[in-house]
């Protein structure tokens, strides 16, 4: 009988609280409210296809509210309640501009690209790896992210970049890559030693006019969009949309791109032991006097 009384009390207490407290509290914070709190998506229904998985936006919406809303916001525009404290700023899904793609600059990424970004996270940012979520959950989130912009209904993702086989890592390849680093003026942003401190670095902003820093090769073991040589190749052949980092797909040939990859790996010598940096160190020890510094061309009026 006492148990019955207690259970009745528990139930009535619950009902009383939920009836009175819940609606009031819900009205106070749109972030925590159920479905109406999320801004109206541009696309009502969306799916994502990743490998053998099909993600569903409806399921992704629940996950978005649990995991993503604090930074990316209830309207998907990157203006969540934490955004003001975060650098770099969270992605604005309504613009459908994504940094890490396998597709040409200016085009939409593939579902797999978005899935990979969720899985990998973004180094040097507040975006963690969501690898602890199940593959199905990540696919669902990809589907939901695509509901924020009408572009997904009007356009198709670009064709994924085909990455040719990597050329051998040789000192000739590294030296040629170094020439390209000078010639293409990569150093202006990334700095002569790849420290992210080039003369233009302080002036850079992203597509939303937020200050942005070039990648510092000397301290990083991972890149924004991956960590392998293939990832690095893809980054500068597709560009990092929404940032000043352009695509070089129309500027250099694949073999040249691999040479540049091999040289960039030598800039990581302070934080990572790579085959490229080992080769480079050996070369430098024997040819130090022959190596011209990277930077402004004295013949062009530089120092």
């Amino acid at each position: 009988m006492r148990v019955k009384k207690a259970l009745v009390g528990l139930a009535l207490g619950s009902l009383g609280f939920l009836a009175v407290g819940a609606p009031a509290a819900r009205a106070q914070s749109h972030v925590n409210a159920p479905d109406p709190s999320l801004g109206a998506p541009s696309v009502e229904s969306e799916t994502a296809s990743v490998g053998g998985l099909t993600g569903h936006a409806a399921a992704g919406k629940v996950l978005y509210r649990r995991f993503c809303i604090g930074c990316h916001g209830p309207d998907g525009n990157g203006e969540g309640m934490n955004a003001q404290w975060i650098e770099p700023k969270p992605r604005d899904f309504t613009a459908a501009v994504f940094k890490c793609r396998s597709t040409p600059t200016g085009t939409l990424p593939t579902d797999q690209d978005l899935y990979n970004s969720l899985e990998r996270g973004f180094v040097n940012s507040n975006m963690p790896s969501w690898n602890p979520l199940t593959p199905q959950q990540r696919a669902d989130l990809v589907a939901f992210i695509k509901t924020w912009s009408p572009r997904w209904a009007k356009e198709k993702p670009g064709s994924a970049l085909v990455i040719p086989a990597e050329t051998p890592v040789t000192i000739e390849s590294i030296l040629h890559g170094r020439e390209l680093f000078q010639k293409m003026e990569c150093w202006k942003c990334h700095g002569p030693a790849g420290h992210g401190d080039g003369p233009s670095a302080a002036t850079l902003t992203d597509s939303k006019d937020n200050p942005i820093r070039p990648y510092n090769f000397s301290t990083g073991t991972r890149f924004k969009c991956g960590e392998t040589n293939q990832d690095l190749y893809r980054i500068f052949m597709t560009g990092v949309d929404g940032t000043p980092m352009p695509s070089f797909a129309d500027v250099i040939q694949p073999n040249d791109a691999w040479d540049l990859v091999h040289f960039l790996r030598t800039l990581q010598a302070e934080s990572l032991d790579t085959k490229e940096s080992a080769l480079w160190k050996t070369y430098v020890a024997a040819h130090r006097a022959d190596i011209k510094p990277i930077g402004p061309d004295p013949a062009a009026g530089g120092q």
Binding site: L7, L12, S14, A24, G70, N124, P132
Partner: protein, 493 residues
């Protein structure tokens, strides 16, 4: 929290039915006026943990790491396993705003009612002529506070993490519930992490992070059970002190832990407790092994199974001084062990947490005999078996319904030589139901409305409850029913 029962069950019997009124009034007071009272207030029961300091550091909502705080989801588990790091090269304190300090605190103002029958009470309150000891019910109710946790946790440097957790009872008597430093990802491998200090055992089902707060429901009975008569003081749910080597796969689907711990129940000052005046500890070490494996079950969610074993020793007598009045060091150690299996199964919004444990003590511990003397004739090695099944139903990240059934049976009594001990002496059965509702859930603080009812039956012994108080029944064959009703606001900031 102390529980000094008052006589006069009639005076408080009405209070159960008033829970509805209380809930409604509190709701109105908090939310009815429409003012957003998101106070930066403390909040939980001393047994549970949630760390808004991390949410503030990383800008993630509570729900990113918790199914319902303080219980961790797999993302939170990975974060914890990584040494409270997101592994984005921004975990070292050097990346934080200098004004950021990793502090979180928690306490739970509450109203609760405790009622226990079969208590040996005076027939005449105050005693006197004609007084007899009779079996009666003791019931008390009122507004109260939980203990308080003052968490500091985070990283000292990349891949060096720490926790410092001073914890108090409701009267602000403090102790160090946890304090450790951990060297993470040794040799750049998530499989090698070394921890040193006082910490919770690597339980698949954590009692420190669970969702129950009442006196009876706020513990797992099996985690603190010892066969009546045994001198063993071990509790699997209690924090222990020592070192741990632990590891995990990148997504923490696979996890292991090997810990070597002082044989003193996590005591400090080389004693057997965290409070002054505790008996001295011995000089041996215990070992805890834990392993778990998770499986992706598609739309159902993540399913995890695991096993654990704890092998320890406890003293049977002490080196003494002052003609035996002063205990110096525990001696004559005799072994005991606990083994078990557990699971964490998701069926979409329904989570089921089963656990089974078997415990066994050496006969010297069971008979309270110094190891230097022969065992009393027929003294057995006491043993018990049991566990629980807990269920959570997540209506949303902000509302979870809870239920739990617990059963512990003594399979071998320790006090067989005393003749009058029934076979079920010490057996425990417990039921708990409740819910938690989180009106706010963001990256600065947490607030939960908690409503719970729990009842336990223990045969012949003092009920094991959160405050550890109460009286044994008049007769060892009698079952003692102890119930708790709990309504509170669980704050974490």
């Amino acid at each position: 929290m102390s529980r000094k029962f008052l006589m006069g069950a009639k005076l408080v019997r009405w209070s159960l039915l008033n829970i509805a009124v209380l809930g409604g009034l509190i709701s109105l007071a908090m939310f009815g006026g429409g003012s957003a009272t998101t106070y930066a207030a403390p909040a939980p029961n001393i047994r549970v943990k949630a760390i808004p300091a991390f949410a503030r550091k990383y800008g993630l909502p509570c729900s990113a790491c918790h199914t319902a705080w303080p219980e961790l989801n797999n993302f939170g588990q990975v974060f914890r396993d990584n040494g409270y790091q997101l592994m984005n090269e921004r975990d070292s304190p050097i990346w934080q705003n200098p004004s950021y300090f990793p502090i979180a605190f928690r306490i739970t103002p509450n109203w609760h009612r405790e009622s226990t029958n079969e208590q040996a009470i005076d027939s005449i309150p105050g005693g006197g002529t004609g007084n007899n000891t009779i079996a009666g019910r003791v019931t008390q109710a009122g507004f109260d506070l939980s203990g308080m946790d003052l968490w500091s946790a985070g990283t000292l440097y990349k891949n060096i993490s720490f926790v410092l957790l001073p914890s108090s009872d409701p009267t602000a008597v403090w102790h160090f519930e946890a304090a450790w430093v951990r060297f993470d990802n040794l040799k750049n491998s998530s499989w090698l992490n070394f921890r040193f200090g006082r910490f919770e055992l690597d339980n698949l089902i954590s009692e420190k992070r669970f969702l129950f707060l009442s006196n009876n429901g706020g513990i797992y009975q099996i985690y603190h059970f010892n066969v009546p008569g045994s001198t063993n003081n071990f509790g699997y749910g209690d924090n222990q002190i020592g070192i741990e080597l632990a590891g995990h796969s990148k997504n923490s689907y696979t996890r292991y832990s090997v810990a070597m711990l002082s044989s003193n129940e996590g005591g400090v000052n080389l004693t057997t407790d965290v409070v002054p005046g505790a008996p001295p500890s011995n000089r041996t070490y215990d070992v805890n092994l834990a392993f778990s494996q998770a499986f992706n079950a598609g739309s159902l969610g993540l399913e995890r199974v695991g096993a654990f074993s704890y092998i320890g020793q406890r003293p049977t007598y002490y080196q003494t001084a002052g003609d035996g009045t002063e205990q110096l060091v525990g001696l004559g150690n005799k072994p005991f062990y606990r083994v078990g299996v557990a699971g964490d199964f998701y069926f979409n919004k329904l989570e089921i947490l089963p656990l089974f444990m078997y415990g066994h003590d050496n006969a010297y511990l069971g008979s309270d005999s110094p190891s230097t003397t022969p065992l009393p004739g027929g003294a057995p090695s006491p043993a018990f078996a049991g566990g629980f099944v807990e269920a959570h139903y997540y209506v949303s990240p902000q509302l979870v319904f809870l239920g739990r059934f617990e059963k512990v049976n003594v399979t071998q009594q320790a006090l067989v030589n005393e003749g009058s001990v029934p076979n079920n002496y010490g057996d425990v059965t417990a039921y708990s139901v409740g819910y938690r509702w989180y009106p706010i859930m963001f990256s600065r603080a947490g607030l939960a409305f908690h409503n719970e009812y729990s009842i336990s039956k223990s045969v012949g012994i003092v009920p094991e409850s959160g405050d550890g108080t109460g009286l044994p029944p008049l007769f060892p064959t009698n079952g003692v029913w102890s119930s708790s009703v709990f309504i509170g606001f669980d704050f974490a900031f």
